[in-house]
Symmetry: C3
Subunit: 272 residues, 3 copies
């Protein structure tokens, strides 16, 4: 039950090690706190193994790479050794060879629990190269009711090949391992006009995975529903004159106030 | 018409490559989304040429320099080669030799479409050295009704010497090439109590330049009016107990909701 | 009087040089502006001496270390030479050897006016090693009414050993030099669910120290009360549906609007 997944995050208070970009890092930290976890950020190679050790899981986000690639690998190997869940967010994969190759290499070197990106980024990784336009999904790649069957088949195949769960975010979210796919219809299109809602989801998802070991697919799906539902609830609090900056606050606030029951009732998904 | 400049940003959805500081980067991303553009941040030398290539223009902001100087130069040369507009924001020029010299060198090595800074920073660049106090303009440098004629003459001369448009922000904004100067009286003094309204303007201005090629001076002036007018509109939504943190949100929200007509009516400027 | 401490910040407009983490840096900048100061961020070794020279004081925060350690040392030595106040925020000391040793080394090499951290971080520094869980204080370390006497004795001893003021934040804040301890009961527990309220306090405290030279202990205590009281005032403005993201804005807004008289009346402290 999704209710239990969220309740366990609140009870467990998971520590999340984030190696993430400097663009959206503050919102990632606040949403992890909002859902009941505790964030720590470190991309310094001298300390990442120790930081990962005191945490329960690792969130790797390649939004701004800088000197962090060796630290990502080192922290990831340590997390694997400790049996901690690892999430990778392939921000902008396809926009540069460095991004695409970094993620493909991390997928080869590490046991990754979830790859959480937009559908264009996931397609880039499946093909090994790509044409993503910046950090937003390409309209041509969008998962729609019309191409849903083939999209579900695609994410299952990718999940099988890479031996990971894939969480492809968009108007319709797909969260899938090789055999089962959650098709999720929470959220609002206006969330795409805020920087970092995807990054936030990856951070929060890591907290859900830590608190729900052995139940990774449902944990990833329930985190996705939590984010989407927070987007719906947050929108209801939009006042006259408000736009994307206030909407960002309302969404994190909605995560902060969300109860397990509210999630259970508001989650809109089917399993394929 | 300023209305057309904003409308074209909304229609065009320009991708902006930002090499910018880690202090205000989140707000820069959100304001670019608010005006209708899409931001991508990268200062990694291995990928900046590719990132600039998928984008339509480049915003270079020296607020925190780190290892990014060679990346700024490399991205800038590529943007020039592709005919993309380049904006430089000389944050804190004058506060250190490194900042002053970095900007002067970029101005020498690159074709820069707009230098967008506060008046103290611009004066520092004109003199080749400076005494800026931190990142805020010196009161003694302020453009006022009393020194307006000489200030207009100064920015025209600087624009001519550097073969660029200069957008000097303050209580009165001056946006000028060698021959024409927009004197803009939008905005509120309380905007100076928020970190990064200048950085936000530079990011948004790059989006305006991309969507209005061949019309750079009007694009830069209309972006300046958009920011100032958003400051006026945002202030009207200030509630009891609110201060600079909420004001920041209201301003970005006002950009998000601004229509071309609203800009056309609210823009306060004269041409000299 | 605490009233005078805040009023002097507003009159003086102190420039604060911050070498701080990229997670909470935007909020640190905005809270420094809110209290009447002006922030500049630089961790680039080539310029930190010049930046520190144009500023009135230095705030060193080790939340994300990167390449900044040599810059911290260089800026700190220059600040010492100039007689500027120096604040150190030992974020996550105990979570890695690098963090613990970096702070201990800075304390050995520099004259530090205030160490401002949570009680677990301070205990780690006193012992020379630690077991902090991430960046939040350990429940077992919390200062309570039951252990208040020994906690006060502990911070006085640490302050004496390190020849610094210590400001240990928590449900009860202790701000002490070797002889006098302010025991402060402002604030709300929900502040711990926002990332960076501690970092904000360290930045604001540096502004208070600059504007109140020769009165460091009272300056540090009044900054601590200002932050806690802002947490109380900000909470009153929480609307239906709001959570930690909006609370962050309300707190900075409350600092922005706080008067010296409001601080004087709202400060809850005793001296031991």
């Amino acid at each position: 039950m999704f209710k239990d997944c969220l309740d366990r995050v609140r009870e467990n208070g998971p520590l999340v090690h984030n190696i993430t970009n400097y663009v959206t890092v503050n919102d990632v930290a606040n949403v992890i706190l909002a859902c009941g976890g505790s964030p720590i950020m470190s991309d310094v190679i001298e300390e990442v193994e120790e930081i990962t050790t005191v945490c329960g899981g690792l969130n790797i986000n390649i939004g701004t790479l800088g000197a962090a690639i060796p630290a990502m690998l080192k922290a990831g190997k340590k997390a694997n050794e400790l049996g901690h869940p690892v999430v990778i967010d392939p921000v902008g994969a396809g926009a540069s060879r460095l991004r695409t190759e970094t993620v493909l290499n991390l997928l080869k070197e590490l046991k990754v629990d979830v790859v959480r990106g937009n559908i264009s980024e996931v397609k880039t990784l499946a093909k090994g190269s790509g044409t993503t336009q910046g950090v937003d999904a390409d309209v041509a790649d969008a998962v729609t009711e019309d191409n849903l069957d083939e999209s579900v088949a695609f994410v299952k195949k990718f999940a099988k090949e890479k031996n990971t769960i894939v969480a492809a975010s968009g108007a319709i979210d797909l969260v899938s391992d090789a055999e089962t796919c959650y098709v999720i219809r929470n959220g609002r299109s206006e969330m795409g006009r805020i920087t970092g809602t995807g990054c936030q989801l990856s951070g929060m998802m890591t907290a859900f995975l830590i608190a729900n070991r052995g139940n990774e697919l449902e944990a990833a799906a329930s985190a996705t529903c939590t984010m989407g539902l927070a987007g719906e609830i947050g929108w209801k609090y939009m006042r006259e004159g408000e736009g994307n900056s206030s909407y960002r606050n309302h969404i994190i606030d909605a995560v902060y106030n969300m109860t397990g029951d509210q999630l259970q009732e508001g989650a809109k998904y089917e399993i394929r």
